[in-house]
Structures are given as C-alpha cells and as structure tokens.
Subunit: 232 residues, 2 copies
Amino acid sequence: MYPSLTDLRRVNVFQQASDADLESLRQHSLVRAIEEKSFFFLQGDEAAYLYVLTSGRAKIVQSNVNGQQVTLRIIYPWQVFGALGAVSNQVALYPASAQALENSVGLAIESAFFRKLMASDSHLAFGMMNLMTAYIQEIQERYRELALERVEQRVASALIRLAGQAGVKSETEAGIELVFSRQDVAELTGATLYTISRLLSDWERKSIIQSGRERIRILRPHELVTIASTSA
Amino acid sequence: MYPSLTDLRRVNVFQQASDADLESLRQHSLVRAIEEKSFFFLQGDEAAYLYVLTSGRAKIVQSNVNGQQVTLRIIYPWQVFGALGAVSNQVALYPASAQALENSVGLAIESAFFRKLMASDSHLAFGMMNLMTAYIQEIQERYRELALERVEQRVASALIRLAGQAGVKSETEAGIELVFSRQDVAELTGATLYTISRLLSDWERKSIIQSGRERIRILRPHELVTIASTSA
DNA sequence: TTTCTTCTTTGCGCTAGCGCAATTTATCAC
DNA sequence: GTGATAAATTGCGCTAGCGCAAAGAAGAAA
C-alpha cells in the first residue's frame, strides 16, 4: 500500500533526505487511487496536499473561463506535483488541475507538514528548488516556442520532450512509443486537434512516425529534431 | 554605493534573513552599473551571480536560433533575477539574457555563496521558493493565454499586469503611465510590432488608453479588464 | 456479432494576424 | 534650428492554422 523508503528515494526531491524524515513523511500521507479521467485535485482547490505519483500517469491542466485548456506538465511515477502550496505559509490554491491519464495512485502529503520538514532539512528545500528550477526552464522554453515557432516545430519539440520524459522503457528498436491522443498533443502544444491530425498524417506518410489510436511511435527521432530547429 | 541593510530588506527574498547574513552577503557582492540596452548577463553564460536590481529597469529575454526573442519578465528595483544558478551545485547556465531597459544598477551576488547561505538559513531558501512559485504562476498563466487567447486579450492582460507591477508611483488621476515601446509589448505578448501598433491606435480612438513614443497611459483600466476576459 | 462510443481523418471555407513597404512623427545630437 | 536617428503608423496582400461538418476506423460493451 504505502511505498517503501527505498521507493521514496526514487523521488528526486527526497534523494538527500534522512530515513527519519521519510518515515515521518509517510505518517503524514495518504494513499489515493484515482481512476482514469478523474482528478487528484482541481484548479482553485485549497492546496492542502502535495503529491507523489506512485503508479499510472497524470497531466497538469489549466483552464480558462471558457473551459478551453492547456496541458502544463505530464507526470510520471515518482514525480512530485501540486507542491506550490507547501511553500507559502498562507493558504494557497492550486493554479491548475491534476487529471489521471490512466488509473493511477498517488501519495498525498500534507503541505503544512512538508513545509516544516523543508524548514528543518535544507536538503528537502534544495530538492524542491531543483524541481522548480527545472520546471521553470521547461515552461520558459515552451513559452518561447509558443510565441515564436510554428505548430510543426512545436509538435516536433513536444514529441522529443515526451520521448525523453517517458524514458527508456518505451524505447525499442521499433521506435519510441508514446501513448497520447491527438487531443492530448493539441493541448500540449497550443494547437487544435485537426491540425495535429493533419500533421501526424503527413509525418506518417514520410515514415517519420507511425501512429494509431492514442499512440504515436517515433521511428526517426532525428528527423523530428531537424524539424524542431528548422527556421521559419 | 553598496545598498544599506535597510535597502536590502526591501528585497522580498531577504525579508526574514538575519543582519549578519545580509552583511556577509554584501561582502560577497559587486555593484554593477549597466547602461541602457546593455546586458547584466547573456543567455548561455555561466550563472555565477544572481542579481538584485537597485535602480533602473531590466527585462529578461529568451532568444531562439533565429534571433527572435520573447520577454519573460520585467525587473524593477529590489527584485531578484538570474537566481537559477544558485540552486544547483552543478555548473548552471543562464537560460535567458538580462538587458537593461534604462541605465541601471544591480548588486551581483556570488551564486555559490548564496547557495551556502540558503543551506544555513531556511528563511532565505523559503524566500527563494516563494519567488519561484510566484513566477511559475505568472508564466503558467501567460502560457495559457498565449495558447488560448487572441492578441487583443493577451495585450490587455499584459498591460494590466504591467500596471500592477510598475506600482503606485506611476498611478495618478490622469491614469497609469507605462514606459514601454510597441516592440516591448510585442515581445511580451507574442505578437508583432505592427499588430500592437494597430491595436493601441484602436484603443486610443476608444479612449481606453493614451499613447506616445515609448509610453502608454492607461485611462480606463476596467475596460482592459473587460477586454482581457471577453470570450472568443 | 452487432451496437455504441470514442477517436481520427479530411474537405472546405474563413480570418486573425503576419510582414513588407512607404510614410509620418518624435527625440536627440550638434 | 537643422539634420539624423529611431519609433510609430497604416495600406495591402497573404497564409498558417482554425473550426465546422461529415465520414471513417478502432475498441468496448452488450
């Protein structure tokens, strides 16, 4: 049920923490199973917990008043999400929702407790700062792409990024398999479902990828790198 | 020359730090005067210093390979910038450049030293985390706008945001005065100079703003709020 | 197997915003 | 004041990508 200390060490943020800290952290946590399409938390909820995904896959999405949405991050096992509330001692609200992409399990850690742990163990604070700086760099890069690059380049970049994040497990000699719908890719890249469908069809004709229902297999990653950095 | 301890307390990140820490921080700092259009640091430089702006105004810009650029943040006095390198003990590179918008002065603090201070004083670490979470929330919101909203709405949001950041000093009964060129606004909103010019001309006809060379005076802020949240 | 649902594809028309080019306006240096 | 430089404006044509609609696939359920 609860992850072991060994498992918790797989979490980057916790890497340098003491056993005692990790143990007490478990005491202040809940295991929550969330089924596909349900939410760990909703945008605007009070950020009382931060999460470690222990199995499954999730996405962090932000909606505007019309209900249109963008995907900010994809979460894989042993990643931390929903942590903004652990920083301020004021009441904070989640700025985005966390939705399970498949049946998932997360460890919910009390934000207030985690804040105390960070105050007493600087390793935890540095772990969190490293998480934040890495995320800032990614979102800044994506922001720049959204402002300056065409859809084709943004999608190529997004697939490369996803391939890197999804990790080795999905990489075989037959290519790198990504499990995302056209709609998912659209929300990740600031494009529409239709444009993504047309683009992937085109790439499939050129044998850069091979695609199916909610599946994209990257056959020639280097081609995507080229497209991503093609000017104008 | 060097800012006083009282001045340094105006920096959010330093608010809770001890006098001794602030004093030693000054010892490990340099005062750097940068003239308009010159750079505090360039994208790709080794992030050996983090900065506190003590006077003037600066922008953080990220460029792509074609030299097109987006503006990520505007920096006002007593704000910290270029701090990513203080987090990791690996060598880090600035992911963006910091360019002075007018003749400016900054206090350059050694990243490695600041990292040690954060490790010994959790208040500093929390100050930094608060800075990062606030920035993350802003950039996420702008990312969402860029993906989902039209130029008109993004510009309205940007002006509102700038008005809030520029602060009270520029707010009179005659409106809120912002000192930015059309090009600046374009780089802040992911639009072109031409589109911004046309849009501002239109708003001026409607008496929402009044504008001049490198100047925008917001006459009816509420109109902008309405535009920013107008659907489709 | 058949039916339902959900995802995907593709044709088609449309428009927001780009970007060139030429002009006008404001500011600065001398 | 005069000329030089940089910023801003505006007309015009163009196209990337949107978004509707309708049809086609691929699973899931019955």
